[in-house]
Amino acid sequence: MNTSVQPLGETITVFASDYLNKLSGEKIERECREFLQAGCTALEVNFKNTEIVNSIGISILLGVIDAASDVNAELVFSDVSEHTVELFEMLGLNNRVVLKLR
């Protein structure tokens, strides 16, 4: 359950862990905010390792979305599983961030 960071061209990628809950969600949020404060303008949260996302994790992702939009940074959620896309759609995240299927 680690998140790790990888610079990738101009976009910075943050990897979500296998279980996106309060703890691992807050870690992602912290990392994203640091990159955005450091001037990052394109951010990707990669979900390729993510099996389950819970509702607290999703509420934290909304904070990341807000933080990115506050500084007009591009944000993409990538490698999202079909089921997690379904979950994000249930709570309207698809209207607020670009989702790329796994």
């Binding site: 279980y19 809950n21 389950i52 996302v53 819970n54 509702s55 607290i56 999703i58 509420s59 909304l62 904070g63 599983s81 079909e82 089921h83 379904e86 979950l87 759609e89 249930m90 709570l91 309207g92």
Partner: protein, 177 residues
């Protein structure tokens, strides 16, 4: 379907058992509950133990031919119910009691905790000030086909049903207003 056969077998061994323990106290009828596909699980609260339960229900649901999409929905609903029990239950024993019952056409998941009874807590589904919370119960209802809340003597119990469909129309995926 092996229920019939199992029942016959159970009755056979019950008889055998009564013969083996002729001097034992008579077993009250209630002790003989024949439930062929009922699983129970008790996990301690915290440390992401809801994942252990989620993987167990995943294996059970897969054996009973639930589709991957339904299995993921069941797992997520179970995780949400466990988080609610942990967060809101004020549980004195810090345990989550779970029961999984598989019928021919459905799975019923019961998640119980001791502690706060639902009605003792603030009313359900009144959106909290922070719009980003209060999603757990909404998700449960969208992910599962039927959700029931019960306040039991010493806590809260949530029963959630998912029907087995091999194909056919799917529920709408939107729970937002």
């Amino acid at each position: 379907w092996t229920v019939k056969k199992d029942r016959v077998e159970a009755e056979r061994v019950l008889e055998a058992n009564l013969v083996l323990h002729p001097s034992a106290e008579p077993r009250p009828a209630l002790r003989y509950q024949f439930v062929p596909n009922e699983y129970e699980m008790v996990v301690p609260m915290g440390e992401d133990t809801e994942l252990i339960a989620a993987h167990t229900i995943e294996e059970i649901a897969r054996r009973h031919e639930f589709e991957p999409r339904a299995i993921n929905q069941i797992k997520t609903a179970l995780v949400e119910a466990c988080i609610n029990a942990t967060e809101h239950g004020m549980s004195p024993d810090r345990k989550i009691y779970q029961k999984f019952t598989i019928d021919e056409d459905k799975i019923v998941i019961t998640i119980s905790n001791r502690g706060v009874r639902l009605t003792d807590a603030k009313p359900l589904e009144i959106s909290p000030d922070d719009q980003r919370r209060g999603w757990g119960l909404k998700l449960l209802k969208t992910l599962m086909d039927d959700v029931k809340f019960e306040q039991v003597n010493d806590g809260t119990r949530i029963s959630m049903t998912k029907f087995l469909r091999t194909s056919g129309p799917e529920k709408s995926a939107s729970a937002t207003a």
